[in-house]
């Protein structure tokens, strides 16, 4: 009966067989669409990833987080840390055949800073000498950005700033063909390993490999990114064999545990935390903040609720970014938490509110935290709101407590320390933490070249911040990817835009 029905349906509707596997196309999925192909507006992860498939940067990160040559075959930094010299490859062609030149680089960078572009990503380049004037519209050229000859670009900064080289691997600093800048939101103009075929909004993005890619072209001919907003839909597609790579949500790990797929895990460069508003009572009291940390049994939560796919946070930095591994700063110690609460003047307990963005996948985790806090007398009410409302509230410093994560853009402790804990950032858009010692050490880290001194300062800053407890430090998560058995050569990366699917293969297994 079922078979008859099937034949009927299929013949009636001329539907093809769905089981054919297309070995020439690698299919992956994103949960929402991209903004477009303009690097100047690549502010979200997905757009950033797609920009990295289509464009080249001067430098980039490989899958193991190393900074490697891109369009620049080598570079050097002057002893004072202010002058960067890049030697450009002369054999890179844009997808339309134009040669990538030093002019393209300068035009691309100036475009980001051009006030007419209104790019939200100017922060990546505004440390270049003269960039601020250019951004104001006072000059028609960025003074610190020059081409010495056909293959050399020199970038000068006003003050030494060691993370700068990593900024040049970010999507917004991608190199654009200067002759094709008109319709970048829809028509990319890059030289990357993939060329755009078609973009069906909210449907899919199709690419064909760039056969002339200077670093070797991708192994698979086509790449297809499907936009599937529902987790259920994504997993159904993967199970049906129509998706090749699938990022498993934490809540679904158990379901996939014993299924016959290849599994790859990656320790993300991230931290999950509860931010506490340090500028006003009650959380301007460091004893209370420490009590919040001591009161929770994170190990149990990781083990039971996160299926073990996270590691305990020692402070704010993930272990990969620390030269030496510090001890866990806050163990589970409810008795100590109660003592600290008394010291903070809350011996009768307190009531407070925690806000969280609505779509948060780990909502049940918060309920576990809530009950641990309640056990020592801290009654936390959880409030959910949508992402935009949440972000607005946090920026305005409204919530006492908020649950959030941070993912690194580049593998450097500075990428956590400055944006999260420097008073200039924290006071205007995060949890209002301000500490002159912390500011000073972060500024030092930003100036020093990457050496052992800088490494040990990063460790020191991490400990210092842990001790001041501006957050409830939670954990660093792992991401699990499943691949179909016909997929080879895939290894996930903790850097969001390092994955370019060049070495991935798809063959009959």
């Amino acid at each position: 009966m079922l078979n008859a029905l099937r034949v009927l349906i299929l013949t009636l509707l001329f539907a093809g067989c769905t089981k054919d596997i297309d070995y020439q196309t690698l299919t992956i999925t994103y949960s929402a669409d991209i903004r477009g192909f303009d690097p100047a507006f690549a502010t979200d992860l997905r757009t950033g990833k797609v920009v990295s498939l289509l464009y080249d940067n001067l430098v980039r990160f490989d899958l193991d987080m190393n900074l490697v040559p891109g369009a620049a075959k080598r570079w050097s930094v002057s002893a004072d840390g202010r002058k960067y010299t890049f030697i450009i490859r002369n054999n890179i062609r844009f997808h339309n055949g134009d040669l990538l030149t030093v002019d393209d680089i300068i035009v691309s960078f100036e475009r980001i800073l051009n006030p007419q572009t209104i790019s939200p990503q100017t922060w990546l380049l505004d440390r270049i000498s003269g960039a601020k004037d250019y951004l104001q519209g006072d000059t028609d050229h960025v003074k610190g950005l020059t081409a010495i000859n056909d293959s050399t670009v020199v970038i000068k900064l006003d003050v030494p700033f060691s993370p700068f080289i990593q900024y040049l691997a970010m999507p917004a600093t991608a190199i654009i063909n200067k002759n094709e800048m008109k319709h970048l939101s829809k028509i990319p103009a890059g030289s990357g390993p993939w060329k755009l075929d078609e973009w069906e909004r909210d449907g899919e993005i199709l690419f064909t490999r760039n056969d002339d890619y200077w670093e070797g072209s991708p192994k698979i001919e086509h790449l297809r990114i499907r936009i599937l907003s529902e987790i259920m839909t994504q997993s159904a597609e993967f199970e049906a064999g129509t998706l090749d790579i699938y990022e498993v949500p934490h809540g679904e790990l158990e379901y996939w545990r014993n299924k016959n797929y290849n599994k790859k895990e990656v320790n993300e460069l991230n931290i999950w935390y509860v931010g506490m508003n340090c500028s006003r009572p009650p959380f301007n009291n460091v004893y209370l903040r420490k009590a919040m940390n001591y009161a929770i049994d994170r190990e149990k939560i990781i083990h039971i609720l996160l299926n073990g796919s996270a590691t305990l946070a020692t402070g704010s930095l993930p272990p990969q970014l620390l030269a030496e591994q510090p001890k866990v700063y806050y163990d589970y110690n409810p008795r100590r938490a109660i003592e600290l609460l008394k010291k903070a003047g809350h011996e009768n307990g307190l009531k407070t509110e925690l806000v969280v963005a609505g779509g948060s996948e780990m909502f049940h985790v918060l309920e576990a935290l809530q009950s641990d806090w309640a056990a020592v007398g801290i009654n936390v009410e959880i409030k959910r709101s949508d992402w935009n409302v949440f972000k607005t509230a946090v920026r305005e410093g409204k919530p006492d407590l908020y649950y959030l994560d941070w993912y690194a853009d580049y593998p450097d402790g500075e990428n956590f320390l400055y944006p999260l804990f420097h008073s200039k950032e924290s006071m205007t858009k995060r949890n209002r933490f301000s500490d002159p010692d912390v500011d000073a050490i972060i500024e030092k880290i930003q100036q020093l070249p990457n050496n052992t001194k800088r490494q040990s300062l990063i460790v020191e800053a991490n400990n210092m911040i842990a001790d001041k407890a501006p957050w409830v430090f939670l954990w660093h998560t792992k991401t699990t990817y499943l691949t179909q058995n016909w997929i080879g050569g895939f290894s996930p990366s903790p850097i969001f835009n390092a994955q370019r699917y060049i070495y991935v293969t798809k063959e009959i297994s």
């Binding site: 079922l2 099937r6 349906i9 299929l10 509707l13 001329f14 539907a15 093809g16 769905t18 089981k19 929402a32 669409d33 903004r35 477009g36 507006f41 502010t43 979200d44 006030p115 209104i118 939200p120 990503q121 100017t122 922060w123 505004d126 951004l135 939101s185 829809k186 069906e200 909004r201 909210d202 449907g203 899919e204 499907r226 936009i227 599937l228 907003s229 529902e230 259920m232 839909t233 159904a236 597609e237 199970e239 049906a240 129509t242 709101s385 949508d386 992402w387 935009n388 409302v389 972000k391 607005t392 509230a393 920026r395 941070w406 853009d409 944006p419 205007t428």
Partner: protein, 311 residues
């Protein structure tokens, strides 16, 4: 008839103006900041200020409203804050997909609903009739997202007859269309059954039977045309909402239509797109209602008469 048509269209103008005002007010009442959807996690205050200026968000609200209405009257619905694309282009890109899904869904709904309703009315009270009516009740009660997911899992994953989700050839539209059309189908089945039962007890049916017409002829020729009224009614109430996008169905099946466009815009506080899609949906509703009214007149001479009396 034409005068009636024009009158109906004129009546729609205050409705649409009301929609414009309400969406505009709602936009400024709900919390959230569109600029924060445009910047990443790292941004400078100057960037925020520049973006606000560019999007005229610093202007007083009444001025923004006047500008907005003025632009609409010139056919300019603004540009998306997020993609920079004109709103009208985004809507027109999605509309054919939504239209296609709506038509196929309605086709399934009418086909399944009317057929089952007719079968049911042949022998009221029989097991078949009860079975169908239970099915119809289930169809009306089942949440759309649940039906969608079950179809994806059973037909797409377990049986692998059709691709679970996606967009492309004929095979992709079947599951979302069934999901979307299911509730209308169930409703139609009940409505068709009750209409048929009512009609079958009328005098002229008895006359037809007593003329010695075969039962199938009585059914199809004399009774069946009456079901067109419920069909049109359902199309009128449901088709307009299909055309303004089926958010859940589109999300589950990865269907790039108006519903998802609107949902994404709401989540990102993309004001121009929210305003554009809501207005578009309202226009669709109004147009559908006018068309349905006209169709009533075409199908049922009594309605036509009443109207021409009034005018």
């Amino acid at each position: 008839m034409i005068r009636y048509f024009i009158n109906r269209l004129l009546q729609a103008i205050p409705v649409l103006f009301g929609v414009i005002i309400i969406t505009f007010i709602l936009m400024y009442v709900i919390p959230g900041d569109p600029v924060l959807s445009m910047v990443g996690e790292r941004y400078s205050e100057e960037t925020i200020q520049r973006l606000r200026e560019e999007m005229h968000l610093n202007d007083p609200v009444p001025i923004q409203f006047i500008r907005y209405v003025g632009n609409i009257l010139q056919g300019d619905f603004g540009k998306s804050f997020i993609t920079g694309e004109p709103v009208i282009v985004a809507i027109m890109e999605k509309f054919p997909n939504t239209m296609m899904l709506a038509i196929v869904a309605m086709f399934f709904a009418v086909l399944i609903g009317v057929t089952l309703g007719m079968i049911s009315s042949i022998s009221p009270g029989s097991i078949l009739d009860r079975g169908i009516m239970i099915l119809a009740l289930a169809g009306i009660s089942a949440p759309v997202f649940w039906v969608g997911l079950i179809l994806v899992l059973v037909v797409g994953v377990m049986l692998q007859w059709l691709p679970p989700t996606g967009f492309g050839g004929v095979e992709y539209i079947i599951l979302p269309a069934l999901t979307l059309g299911l509730r209308s189908a169930a409703y139609l089945a009940r409505l068709t059954r009750s209409t048929m039962l009512e009609v079958l007890s009328q005098d002229y049916i008895r006359t037809a039977r007593s003329k010695g017409l075969p039962e199938w002829k009585v059914f199809l020729k004399h009774a069946f045309p009456n079901t067109l009224i419920p069909v049109i009614t359902v199309i009128g109430t449901d088709f307009g909402s299909y055309l303004s996008g089926a958010v859940l169905t589109e999300s589950i099946f990865g269907w790039p239509g108006i519903g998802r466009l609107a949902l994404e815009a709401i989540l990102k506080r993309d004001f121009p797109v929210i305003q554009g899609t809501v207005l578009f949906m309202a226009v669709m509703f109004v147009i559908m209602n006018v068309i349905v009214d006209l169709l009533y007149g075409v199908i049922d001479p009594r309605i036509r008469m009443e109207r021409s009396d009034k005018q």
